[in-house]
Symmetry: C2
C-alpha cells in the first residue's frame, strides 16, 4: 500500500507542474516540504522528466506550432489555384482543431478553410466576405483530410459568388455559397 502522504504529495506535484512546468526539483522540494531526493523519486515514479527536458518539449511543441498557427493566416494548403476561376485546398484535421472530448473538428476550421479559399479566388489585393450560406453535412474527425474545391459561379462588378464544396474522400462534408467583395 502506498502511504497517503506519498500519493497526496504526488498528486500535488503533478498539479504544480501542470500549472508551471518551469519549476526545479529544488523549488518543488521547498513547496512540498520534503527533501530533493523525495521529489526525484516521485518524478521517477510518475515518469516526469527533468526540467530541461520539460522545457525542451514545451519549446519544441510550440516551435512547430508557432509557424503553423501564426501562418494560419491561411487555413489549409493551397494545392491548385487559378485566380478568377477555381481553386483547391487541403486541410488535415489536427488535434488543435478538435473538441477535446470528442475527436470532431470544430466547424469554424472547416469554414475558415473554405473562406480562405473563396477569398483567394478573387484576384485583387483585398477581398472580403459579405454573406455566406453554409452547411455542415457531417462531422469531420481528427486525422481526416478535407479537400475543398471552389469556383466562381457568378460575377458582377466587384461582387463574386463563389461556391465551395469540401469533401473527405468522396463524401461531401461541407457546402457553402460565399458572396465576396473585391476591394481596389
Amino acid at each position: 500500500m502506498m502511504s497517503p502522504g506519498k500519493s497526496k504529495r504526488q498528486e500535488l506535484l503533478c498539479r504544480y507542474l501542470e500549472g508551471n512546468p518551469f519549476l526545479t526539483d529544488n523549488e518543488l522540494a521547498h513547496m512540498l516540504g520534503v527533501s530533493i531526493q523525495t521529489i526525484r523519486l516521485d518524478r521517477w515514479g510518475l515518469s516526469i522528466p527533468e526540467l530541461r527536458k520539460r522545457l525542451r518539449e514545451v519549446a519544441k511543441g510550440s516551435y512547430g506550432q508557432v509557424s503553423a498557427l501564426q501562418k494560419e493566416e491561411w487555413i489549409g494548403d493551397l494545392v491548385d489555384l487559378e485566380p478568377g476561376r477555381q481553386g483547391v485546398s487541403i486541410l488535415e484535421v489536427s488535434e488543435e482543431m478538435t473538441l477535446n472530448s470528442t475527436k470532431v473538428a470544430r466547424g469554424h476550421y472547416i469554414f475558415a478553410q473554405a473562406n480562405c479559399l473563396a477569398v483567394s479566388l478573387v484576384n485583387t489585393k483585398v477581398a472580403l466576405t459579405g454573406t455566406a450560406k453554409i452547411s455542415f453535412k457531417r462531422p469531420v474527425y481528427y486525422g481526416e483530410k478535407v479537400i475543398a474545391r471552389a469556383f466562381i459561379s457568378r460575377k458582377k462588378d466587384n461582387k463574386f459568388i463563389i461556391r465551395v464544396t469540401s469533401k473527405v474522400r468522396d463524401e461531401t462534408i461541407f457546402q457553402g455559397k460565399f458572396l465576396v467583395f473585391a476591394i481596389a
Copy 2:
C-alpha cells in the same frame, strides 16, 4: 575594423540560430569550423543568450500562447452565459486576425466567435453546427472589440436555431442564423 571572417561567421551564426534555436555552442562550433570559445565570444558580442535561456524564452513565449491558442478552442471571451437561453462574448481583434496588408479582420474569426458562442449555448457535452446563414455587414478593423450576442430562437428535439448578432459599439457588423445539433 572587424575582419570579414568574423562578421560573416556572426551572420551565419544568427541565421543558424534563427532556423534552429536548439543548437548548442558545441554544434555551432563544428558547423562553423571554429573553436567553442570563438562561438561563445560571438554570442557574447551579439548578446545571444545560452541554449538554456533560449529554450526558456521559446517555451515561455509559447506557454502564454499555448493557453491563448490551444484554448483558442473558444474564440472570444465569454462574458455572460445562460446555457439554453442566451450568451455574450467579446473578441478584441488582434494583429494575427487581420490581413497583413490592410488592418481588416478575416471573416472566419468573426464567424468563429459567433460559432463558438452559438455552440456553447447548447447545454450538452457535444454540439455541432449543421447549417448557418451568415452575413458580414462591414469590415472590422484591428483593435476593435466585437461583442457577439446569441439567443436560442427555436428548439425542437436536439435541434436548436440560434441567432447571433455581433456589434462594434452600436454598429452591427455580423449576423448569423445557426442550426446546431446537440449530441448526447
